[in-house]
């Protein structure tokens, strides 16, 4: 099964890019590939170049140094990533001393500063994960990811298990941090609203491929690929007057459709779409789409 096929992405320093797609589009697999944490026996071809160095050539020891320190990761469910038997203090000390030779005292001082920046009271540093609410745990996870000042933060559905108000709180904090630390952000989500609020660039995934990539402004206001257009129309928001959906279901990646993978669901598909794989082509400056008829949608 090809969970991802022929994907190429650049993230500039300080830039935030949203990876959007539905279930099975391969967006989470991408996050794991960037961190070189794909499950065993997964075959990956290609390269991840980070700050000029190629990660795929490094041995495990060196990658481990980059992962966690230079590239940090936060997941959907913080409870499954925090050790229930360790206090918050222990989590921080472990994370910091795994990467840097600092005293426990220095590590603690940094931990407290990181917690405070996430608006978690440092007086609770001796508490265990279960003593915090869901939103607090996610703040702690983010503080833990950011305590070593990473250059890149990969966030896989970081707010999906949270309520809408807490989600908005976390997104505001992420934005502040991004600005303050000039950090790059790879935000993986199915929620287009979040991308519109937080990201500079968007890559739309469908069935393991990028179908369109560009600035948030272009993608949300001038989408080219029919899938992007239909996906944006299908969002139910407060101004929705009419419901729209996309016919059919996302394909099975074991035997994806030939040609353009979206052609069986595409209302504009023609015979050639079944045969020819559309290249990701630039239609506007900085906006590329994988559609044979892209110029018709300009």
């Amino acid at each position: 099964m090809h969970a991802l096929d022929n994907i190429s992405l650049d993230v500039a320093s300080g830039e935030s890019i949203g990876i959007v797609g539905e279930t099975g589009s391969g967006k989470s697999t991408l996050g794991k590939a960037v961190l070189e944490i794909l499950p065993p026996r997964t075959k990956a071809e290609g390269q991840v170049v980070f700050l000029g160095g190629e990660l795929s050539h490094l041995d495990n020891e060196k990658i481990r140094h980059i992962r966690g320190e230079k590239i940090a990761l936060i997941f959907q469910d913080p409870m499954t990533r925090l050790n229930p038997l360790m206090t918050i203090e222990d989590h921080f000390v472990e994370a910091i001393t795994a990467h840097q030779r600092v005293s426990r005292r220095e590590a603690l001082a940094r931990a407290k500063a990181a917690l405070t920046s996430m608006r978690v009271s440092e007086s609770r540093i001796r508490n265990y994960p279960h003593e915090f609410s869901g939103g607090m745990r996610q703040r702690i996870m983010i503080a833990l990811a950011l305590v070593l000042n990473p250059s890149l933060l990969v966030a896989d559905e970081p707010t999906t298990s949270l309520d809408v108000i807490v989600e908005a709180q976390i997104l505001e904090i992420l934005e502040d941090l991004k600005r303050a630390y000039k950090m790059s952000l790879l935000l993986i989500t199915h929620n287009l609203g979040i991308v519109a609020e937080v990201c500079d660039k968007v890559a739309v995934f469908y069935a393991g491929k990028i179908v369109e990539i560009g600035s948030v402004d272009d993608i949300f206001n001038r989408p080219i690929h029919p899938y992007t257009r239909l996906l944006l129309q299908s969002i139910i928001h407060l101004d929705t007057k009419e419901l729209h959906s996309i016919e059919g279901v996302p394909p099975d990646l074991v035997s994806p459709p030939s040609g353009c993978r979206f052609h069986p669901r595409c209302p504009y598909a023609q015979a050639v779409c079944r045969e020819k794989i559309p290249p990701l082509e630039e239609f506007r400056q900085g906006q590329r789409a994988a559609c044979l008829f892209g110029k018709d949608f300009l």
Binding site: T23, T116, S121, M136, H190, D217, H244, P250
Partner: protein, 398 residues
């Protein structure tokens, strides 16, 4: 002492969660009524109590004029054919070992409405066509694992519809589905409503979907309805600060509309010990001094101060650890040595000057009682639903 150990372990705690408290609403025939709120607000509990899937500890549920709260199961069963439920997770709602056809036809057999296989099958096939589960002859013998998420939810809807009920409680029916197929399922629900004159109790956390679908909505927070009325009025001009906050927090899929949102702080507190007065008061951006301040709000304030490095330093030096503070009802207190009690009392008074005005104004007095510093809040004003511009709002602002 005495008695088996296990029994004692289980008997130790007897605290109940009042998931829902004082909630009252009426469904009009043929309407879509939305119960909207965040996780833990009691919307699902309310939906289940309506169908008597759980028994309320007090209060009553009337269905078509009959009080069903205490009805025995055998009297309730015939009514069940007229009220059905659709759950959030279509994967978990279908028995993986039961074919789609027999799952949809099952209620007919349970309620003794149709027995002959042929009759059951014909009714099931007709309903499958009705919900768009086609080609129905082919899908009839398939199992849930052969279906997509959207198809499964259609099967669940067909099973709820096969008895042609009056009322359907739909608990987050599209939350688990991908965006591109949500609209299809919602359209189907609207179509069925018109055709069969259904009434929906639509339970959701998604204000946008509720806005599109519902005639009237009730906004729930921590077990209570804070605002209830016609959907279009509430969305146009929300009255309760919680409703306003919820609407502001929704991410807008338009990068041109970015901006700060003035969000309420913190999170939904533990439902075992809900806040006094208005349950939203500790987070409310429009809170008044009369909304229900209590001892633990002061301790929360002390904790919040520790997220600011300068205040944390000063508080640490003057007050020490937060853990010795105790809150009980309107009172927060801290034991201390007799020679320090005066100084600490003064310090507590001084930091109240830096506190948000409503909190500071709600304090009745701070004094020292020998070896304790005691802070007491005023008794809050009584709170109840009030009629505001065609809806009921539970808020002291009105």
């Amino acid at each position: 002492m005495g008695g088996p150990l296990i029994q004692k372990l289980f008997q130790r705690h007897k605290s109940f969660v009042h998931a829902v408290d004082g909630v009252s609403f009426t469904l009009k025939p043929g309407e879509i009524f939305g119960l909207v709120g965040e996780s833990g607000c009691g919307k699902t509990t309310t939906g289940r109590a309506v169908l008597r899937l759980i028994d309320p500890t007090s209060g009553s549920v009337k269905f078509e004029g009959t009080n069903i709260t205490k009805l025995k199961e055998e009297r309730l069963r015939p009514l069940r054919t007229r009220m059905q439920i659709i759950f959030q997770d279509p994967h978990a709602s279908l028995n993986p070992a039961m074919s789609i056809g027999s799952a949809i036809g099952h209620p007919l057999k349970i309620h003794g409405i149709a027995w002959r296989e042929e009759d059951v099958k014909n009714r099931v096939l007709a309903m499958m066509r009705e919900v768009g589960l086609t080609p129905e002859e082919q899908l009839y013998d398939k199992y849930p694992s052969d279906l997509s998420g959207g198809q499964k939810q259609r099967a669940v809807i067909a099973r709820a519809m096969i008895l042609v009920p009056q009322l359907i409680v739909a608990d987050e029916p599209v939350a688990m589905l991908d965006m591109s197929i949500r609209a299809k399922v919602l359209e189907l629900m609207l179509l069925l409503k018109r055709k069969f004159n259904l009434t929906y109790l639509f339970i959701t956390h998604d204000l946008a979907t509720a806005k599109f679908l519902c005639d009237r909505i009730a906004i729930m927070y921590l077990g209570r309805i804070v605002e209830i009325g016609p959907a279009k009025d509430i969305y146009k001009d929300p009255k309760h600060p919680y409703t306003q906050a919820l609407l502001r927090a929704i991410p807008i899929p338009d990068p041109r509309k970015r901006g700060p949102k003035d969000l309420p702080k913190g999170e939904v507190p533990d439902a075992v010990h809900p806040p006094a007065g208005c349950r939203f008061h500790p987070r409310c951006p429009a809170v008044l001094s009369t909304c229900g301040w209590e001892g633990r709000d002061f301790i929360d304030y002390l904790e919040e101060r520790r997220t600011s490095p300068e205040k944390a330093k000063a508080d640490e030096a003057n007050l020490g650890s937060l853990e010795i503070w105790k809150a009980e009802g309107l009172v927060a207190e801290r034991p201390c040595e007799p020679n320090k009690v005066g100084k600490i009392t003064e310090y507590v008074r001084s930091i109240l000057n830096e506190a948000p005005v409503p909190l500071a104004q709600a304090v009745e007095r701070v004094n020292n009682v020998e070896t304790k510093v005691v802070l007491r809040f005023r008794t809050p004003d009584p709170l109840g639903p009030k009629e505001v511009e065609g809806r009921l709002v539970e808020c002291l602002l009105y």
